[in-house]
């Protein structure tokens, strides 16, 4: 009976056994949101506020798709499923994943900024000056996110507080309110940000001024326009040009050097990427790093003599220059930027004998294998070269000149998507052209011309002598009577080709429909005025309790 007694004891003990603490959650591998209210956690919240920049600028093709496709600069290449943004066809609808992803990302970004801003007062243990600077940065970032939203979607939901609990209502605030918020945030930042950031890549006072210039310039072309918008835009831009040590580099293409060279005097602010995959993101595709290196690259790897390698890159063939860009935009004899913006030659990396145009051609490694030509070739000319020539008539969605600015031969393997290039969002050449556009629009064409010519002189081809160079520069200069908004847009295209600003430029200047119809035959048939805004994601409309109207023209 002893055993039995013993067991009975266990039964009784069991029924009194306190169990409440057993059901408490043991959270170890996760962090609860209280973290953001601690000093360290709050600073990490600031870092998090930056991280969404990558999601627009290069982490995947979405940001580039909405800014590069469907413009006069670029049309679609062979690959990819997002060509609706070039065609403006039925695929560009409220259910489109790209619009949805961008929208989502920007609002998660804004809620993160809001959380940092809302919690700032309760955070203790931080140096006040540091806290003010960081608070300035987050205001800048929130303004940048709202600026992207308002340009893409027009009136959007405006929220400046961290969301607590379930929120199912939303409303479309007028564009005026959104611009007012953006400017208020930027002014807040202006008073707190340093001229030079403590860490390279954080936002600064000049970056804020550059953004203010762009915001006023854009506002001037929007429903929220006010009389002094152009003046303010010009003033802020001139301030950036005059008050700091930024300068236009001597050679246009060195702005896009990779590695240490990417930090140069022309860069006002750039989105940061590095070679460490730990800071690039976890997976190999589309969730980390700068992937822009793939999208402009033509499909070289299935051509004779070629195979995919690190040096040449991973060709996703999304963005193909329009014939306008290739044939009309540049003065090829004078303007340095045509040659330097495009890669047109590929050297054999798959030696062997191939049939090209009915001829047997043997490639050794390093021989020219592919030449994307800017002119037609005669049959006799073709018979004299031992490589594959693609004159304009043979160019197509697969084969075309490749924009060089984002190529990244510094990845560990040919399939690796996560490039390490910084993405330059604000650079001084852009500031010059903002100043020019603002001044010209403000009827100060004489002043404007100086800023245009500064950019153009830099772009002049180098001669064999200093005199020749000077002569070229002189020839590049234009006069006030040549300056109009189309010329400014052309100049922006020459200088900023592919730099994820074109669609905004065309919308801002009211030239989207006109220039797309004129220069982008793939889009010409479908584009309509309502395409100057993107569709509001259907999810947003469906999930909102309150009325959330769709942009006109979309259903």
């Amino acid at each position: 009976m002893k055993t039995v007694n013993c067991l009975l004891f266990i039964v009784i003990a069991t029924s009194f056994f306190s169990c409440s603490n057993l059901l408490e959650e043991d959270v170890r591998s996760q962090i609860t949101d209280n973290h953001l209210s601690t000093a360290g956690g709050w600073l990490e919240g600031v870092n998090a506020s930056y991280s969404f920049l990558r999601s627009f600028y290069g982490i995947n093709e979405n940001g580039a798709t909405v800014t590069v496709f469907g413009t006069d600069e670029f049309t679609n290449g062979f690959d990819g499923g997002l060509k609706s943004f070039n065609f403006y066809d039925f695929g560009l609808n409220p259910r489109n994943g790209v619009v949805n992803t961008l929208w989502n990302n920007l609002y998660v970004a804004i809620n993160t900024c809001n959380a940092v801003i809302s919690r700032a007062p309760e955070v203790t243990g931080l140096d006040e000056a540091l806290k003010e600077t960081r608070l300035g940065e987050v205001h800048f970032l929130r303004a940048q996110y709202y600026f992207l939203l308002v340009q893409l979607f027009g009136p959007v939901h405006l929220t400046l507080e961290e969301v607590q609990g379930i929120q199912t209502s939303a409303a479309r605030a007028p564009v005026e309110d959104i611009y007012a918020t953006i400017i208020e945030d930027l002014n807040f930042a202006l008073g707190r940000l340093p001229m030079i950031a403590s860490d390279y890549g954080r936002v600064t006072k000049p970056a804020t001024e550059h953004l203010l210039a762009k915001v006023y310039l854009t506002k001037a072309g929007s429903a929220a326009q006010q009389a002094d918008d152009y003046t303010k835009a010009a003033d802020y831009a001139k301030g950036v040009i005059d008050n700091y040590s930024f300068r236009l580099l001597d050679d246009f293409i060195t702005v896009f050097e990779q590695g240490e060279g990417e930090k140069n005097d022309e860069v006002i602010w750039s989105i940061q990427n590095s070679k460490s995959f730990i800071t690039a993101g976890q997976t190999a595709c589309c969730d980390g790093g700068n992937t822009l290196h793939t999208y402009f690259l033509m499909k070289y790897d299935d051509l004779p003599g070629m195979q995919r390698d690190i040096e040449n890159g991973r060709p996703w063939a999304r963005f193909r220059p329009t014939r306008f860009t290739l044939e009309q935009l540049f003065n090829r004899t004078l303007d340095d930027r045509y040659e330097k913006s495009f890669k047109r030659v590929f050297y054999a990396n798959r030696p062997g004998t191939y049939t090209i145009n009915g001829r047997q051609i043997t490639f050794n490694t390093g021989d020219t294998a592919v030449f994307v030509s800017d002119r037609e070739w005669s049959a006799s000319e073709l018979s004299q070269v031992n490589y594959n020539v693609f004159p304009p008539s043979r160019q197509n969605e697969r084969v075309y000149p490749t924009l060089t600015k984002f190529l990244d031969p510094d990845r560990p393997d040919p399939q690796e998507m996560r490039g390490s290039r910084d993405f330059i969002v604000f650079r001084l050449a852009d500031t010059y052209l903002i100043a020019a556009e603002a001044l010209m629009s403000d009827n100060k064409t004489d002043e404007a011309i100086e800023y245009v010519n500064a950019v153009r002189r830099r772009a002049a081809k180098k001669g064999n002598t200093a005199e020749e160079t000077l002569a070229n520069q002189k020839q590049m200069e234009v006069t006030a009577d040549q300056l109009d908004i189309d010329f400014i847009l052309d100049e922006r295209a020459r200088e900023l080709l592919g730099e994820m600003t074109r669609w905004f430029d065309l919308v801002r200047t009211g030239k989207l429909v006109e220039r797309v119809k004129k220069y982008n035959p793939d889009a010409a048939n479908n584009i309509e005025p309502f395409h100057a805004l993107r569709p509001i994601p259907q999810d947003q409309i469906d999930r909102t309790d309150t009325e959330f109207p769709q942009n006109e023209g979309y259903q």
Binding site: T3, I10, N273, P412
Partner: protein, 990 residues
């Protein structure tokens, strides 16, 4: 009556199942008063005369008559009886006689479990139990199965049944159990039966009982089989010549904007060369008529073998069962194999008259290669099925060519199976025990304590050498992932059994239990190993760290349960169960869920009016209603969490945290209410037995992300929203078609089960509103195929219409369902669901003399599948190989498949081409065995000896296979092709 001369007859009675001696078998001489019972060794002695008939009866076995002949010593084997009402069924926290059961429970007999040499324990369930849908998760060695009991209820909280091994609930890794060690499997299906596992019972409960020792003679069993596996069928792909023509056609479809002529111009007699569409290798293949059959280069014959050795026995006080197992499955694709080593020790010890203790311990170690790799697939960039047949695998020196053609995306699939090039090896060590102590406090009152610790360590190493598709000539990459899990269950069970006034049987069970799981994992992922031979054993040597991670997870469930079984007069049965479960995963105030159930049974057979019936040997009506819960979500979902972000400033890391989950204090149990009506029957003295079940379940408070407008900063919050309903009908029938009283006579028995389950979403997070984004529709099953409706192919002369409807001539024509003159997303329709309309299993067993033959068929009818092979990116683009389909050309105005077009990476509306009927009937197994006579067995010193030949997966009947040459309708997602196994086996007992 003239009596013959009586003599002393002695003998032994054993079970035909596992050959163990049967203790307590009643033996009497027909027409006399003489009777006896067997002792613990199954031995009996009785006086009888020649010509007398001995009648043997024993609980759970078929009655048998033996006519006394010349022999004085008899050995008699009793057959297990399928429909015996005294059969004992495991019901969770105890056992019950089959006739006393009120819930819907399917028991799978030892005999059925043994028929198919199973590679894994869950596989043994396939086609055996009505309402239990088992589908292979793949054809790779070691691949698991998906088990669904009466359909899916949940979206997020999991639909796997709860597995309980020797009384201890386990999570995951039921695969680690050696099928040879399993004595029986019982599946609890309705709420009354599962309610005792309340918290975890919503998806059904699978109770596994392992073999234990029996008192008496010590038995040594050796079971083994060996067989070879061969590919069931090669995919019907285009050969070189056909591929060339298909490629030409894809260029005929495209007009050059420059020349205005097709890219492949048939007017040019030398178009193969001049069009430039073929590279040098392809041209040479075309000229020489050369074609590479990549499939046959990648596939070899595999093998399967299994060896099990067990020793069992015991005395009055101690019983034991020890077993060793080895299982090895070498797949038909190089680099894919699975090996499992298992040990088991079961011991039961009586201490005095009232106390019993015991344990069962499972040790398992398995190694699996190739789980995450499949060079056979139909990938757009890589894979055997899509590799260009005009390419060549080897150069003149016999070396593998990295890229068989000039297609820069495609590497040679043969490189993936070069030893050491791709390593993907997982190792699992598991130690699972169930330890119990049981005391009978006084007659009828028992206390039992179970403790079940379960340790599991997983380790997976992955290596990709430079010359592989993954690395494309880049630096080698490697990856290590380890996970350690410790789970325990601690249960205290009090039972009281009594019979009052002979008519009132009462059986009360009370339970208190704690179950908890804690797991920790780490992963390291690197690039740039200096030397390939390092594999994944020196990650520190790598030049780049891709990612490093670790995690921790813990949850606990506390439970109280009480059950009352009451039986009146063997006629009326009542089961009342109440269970309370507390889960750590829910927030304070919502942690506890309460799950009551009620079941009634009426044994009609025991009523006066059926006592005399010759037709009904059993008739029982069962009704049950109950609630069960589901909490199978990830822990920490109620917390407001932040997630990590990455950024850097000039190369210095700038990690951050952003708000990612809103705190949800309201999260609570997902609850399923279900009702079941069942009828058990036995006809003609149990020649035909079976059950019919009808059920409906309604799951509310579905744990489903409630979608939010993202302007709130959050996309969704896991909430209790939505309602789902399942309805079904299950029929199981076992029939002894031909019986023989003579052990040597011809016998034929059939088991059939048929079941259907209808799944319907009733509400979602926005009420009765479809969630098109997640493809969830009110009134439809959880998984549906939602797409445009293919109506044919646009033919010549229909250019205008084709363009109007967003296609081209030779392209897919889809229905303008809403008739608005354009094809828009609203023209998509629900085409079908993956749920079959009817499923079932059919087993036929024949026996004659020493031979036994069983044929087991399994069917799923009426579902739809989405084939990956037909939906591949670049399908019909003239770039990669594919099935030899009937594609459109100007001379072949088919409506089946569109014209190949090199300008289209997928055909317009190409997704409509991938839906097929998922109906199939598979002959899963044909087994022919022979039991040697005892004389022969004894001649090698054995008690019994059986050999068998078995064919696994010998036949499949399916439109997807016969008409569309698909690989496997059960698993249409381009995995390893199915194989057919022929094996020979041996069971010997000493």
């Amino acid at each position: 009556m003239v009596l013959g001369q009586t003599k002393r007859i002695s003998g032994t009675v054993t079970s035909s199942g596992d050959g163990t001696a049967l203790n307590g078998v009643s033996i009497w001489v027909k027409g006399s008063e003489r009777g006896t019972t067997t002792d613990e060794s199954g031995v009996f002695a009785i006086d009888a005369a020649k010509g007398d008939t001995l009648r043997l009866t024993y609980v759970g076995y078929r009655q048998q008559d033996v006519v006394v002949g010349e022999a004085n010593a008899l050995t008699i084997r009793l057959e297990l009886s399928a429909g015996n009402l005294d059969e004992v069924v495991v019901v969770g926290y105890g056992t019950q006689k089959k006739q006393d059961i009120t819930g819907a429970i399917t028991s799978i007999s030892t005999q059925a479990l043994r028929e198919v040499p199973a590679t894994s324990a869950p596989q043994m369930l396939q086609g055996r139990a009505a309402g239990v849908d088992v589908v292979h998760a793949g054809n790779k060695p070691g691949a698991g199965v998906t088990v669904r009991v009466r359909g899916r209820r949940s979206f997020n909280a999991g639909n796997d049944p709860l597995y309980v091994v020797d009384g201890i609930p386990i999570s995951g890794g039921f695969n680690d159990i050696n099928p040879d060690d399993i004595e029986s499997i019982d599946v609890l299906k309705d709420a009354s039966a599962t309610a005792i596992y309340g918290s975890r019972g919503a998806n059904g409960v699978v109770l596994v009982t392992t073999k234990r020792g029996k008192s008496g003679r010590t038995n040594i069993n050796y079971d083994a089989y060996y067989g070879s596996s061969t590919i069931m069928r090669y995919a019907d792909l285009m050969n070189g010549e056909e591929f060339a023509e298909y490629k030409r056609e894809s260029r005929r479809a495209v007009i050059s904007p420059v020349t205005g002529r097709p890219l492949y111009d048939d007017e040019d007699p030398n178009a193969d060369v001049n069009s430039g569409i073929f590279d040098a290798v392809e041209l040479q293949s075309i000229t020489e008529g050369r074609s590479t059959d990549w499939q046959r280069l990648m596939i070899k014959d595999g093998s399967v073998q299994n060896h099990g050795l067990s020793v069992s026995g015991g005395t009055d006080h101690t019983n034991f069962n020890i077993s060793l197992g080895y299982f090895n499955d070498v797949g038909i694709l190089k680099g894919q194999d699975f090996t499992r080593y298992t040990t088991r020790l079961n011991v039961d010890q009586k201490i005095g008259k009232r106390v019993k203790v015991g344990m069962s311990t499972l040790g398992s170690y398995s190694e699996r290669n190739g789980e995450d790799v499949n060079p056979y697939n139909a990938g757009a960039d890589f894979g055997t099925l899509t590799e260009n047949p005009l390419g060549i695998p080897y150069d003149e020196n016999g070396n593998i060519i990295f890229r068989p053609t000039s297609d820069g995306l495609r590497t040679n699939p043969l490189l993936e199976i070069v030893p050491g090039a791709v390593i993907n090896k997982s190792k699992v060590v598991r130690l699972f025990s169930s330890i119990y102590g049981e005391a009978e406090v006084f007659d009828g009152l028992k206390f039992r304590m179970n403790f079940g610790p379960d340790l599991r360590q997983d380790r997976k190493g992955d290596f990709r050498g430079s010359l592989t598709n993954a690395r494309q000539g880049g630096d080698p990459a490697a990856n290590n992932a380890e996970n350690f899990a410790f789970q325990y269950a601690w249960e205290n069970i009090l039972t009281y059994q009594t019979t009052l006034s002979e008519k009132h049987q009462l059986d009360i069970t009370g339970l208190y239990s704690v179950q908890s799981l804690q797991q920790e994992g780490t992963t390291i992922n690197v690039l740039g190993l200096p030397v390939e031979s390092l594999e994944y054993y020196n990650l520190g040597a790598a030049s780049t760290i891709n990612s490093v991670g670790s995690d921790y997870e813990k949850w606990t469930i506390l439970s109280y349960m009480a059950r009352i079984n009451y039986i009146f007069d063997q006629r009326f049965l009542l089961t009342l169960t109440g269970r309370a479960d507390g889960s750590s995963k829910f927030s304070t105030g919502n942690k506890w869920g309460y799950f009551p159930s009620l079941a009634l049974g009426w044994n009609l057979k025991n009523e006066q009016f059926l006592q005399e019936s010759n037709l009904f040997s059993n008739l029982k009506l069962r009704l049950s209603y109950g609630e069960t819960g589901n909490e199978g979500i990830m822990p920490y979902q109620t917390q407001g969490l932040v997630s990590r972000t990455v950024y850097d400033f000039d190369g210095s890391s700038a990690f951050g945290y952003r708000p990612s989950t809103i705190r949800n204090d309201g999260l609570k149990w997902e609850t399923t209410k279900s009702a079941n009506i069942g009828l058990d029957f036995g006809l003609w003295n149990n020649r035909v037995t079976g059950a019919i079940e009808v059920y409906q379940s309604r799951t509310t408070d579905l744990l489903l992300p409630r979608v939010l407008p993202i302007t709130s900063g959050y996309n969704s919050i896991l909430s209790n929203v939505g309602v789902k309903r399942n309805r079904g009908l299950e029929v199981s029938v076992s029939s002894l078609n031909i019986v023989s009283n003579d052990e040597q006579g011809f016998e034929w028995a059939t088991d059939l089960n048929l079941y259907t389950n209808q799944e319907q979403i009733l509400e979602l997070s926005q009420g009765k509103v479809d969630d098109i984004g997640n493809l969830r529709f009110i009134g439809h099953p959880a998984v549906v195929y939602y797409d445009y409706v293919k109506a044919g192919i646009w033919q010549l002369g229909q250019e205008g219409e084709a363009e109007q409807y967003s296609s081209i001539v030779g392209g897919v024509k889809v229905k303008d369902v809403n008739g608005n003159g354009v094809i828009d997303p609203d023209d998509r329709q629900i085409l079908g669901s993956d749920i079959p309309k009817l499923s079932g299993g059919l087993t036929n067993r024949f026996r004659y003399k020493g031979f036994d033959l069983s044929i087991f068929a399994f069917a799923r009818l009426g579902g739809m599948i989405q084939s990956t092979e037909y939906g591949t990116f670049r399908f019909l683009s003239g770039r990669v190989n594919q099935y030899r389909v009937d594609y459109w050309t100007k001379d072949n105005p088919t409506n089946a498949f569109p014209q190949p077009n090199s300008n289209l990476e997928t055909p317009y509306f190409g997704s409509t081409l991938r839906y097929f009927s998922g109906s199939f009937v598979k002959i899963r197994n044909i087994n022919l065995g022979y039991n040697f006579s005892e004389r022969i067995a004894r001649s090698i010193g054995a008690q019994s000896l059986r050999i068998y030949l078995s064919a696994q997966n010998p036949l499949v009947f399916s439109e997807y296979v016969s008409k569309y040459s698909g690989l496997d309708p059960e698993n249409p997602t381009n995995s390893t092709p199915p194989s057919r196994v022929f094996l020979a086996g041996l069971n010997v007992r000493f």
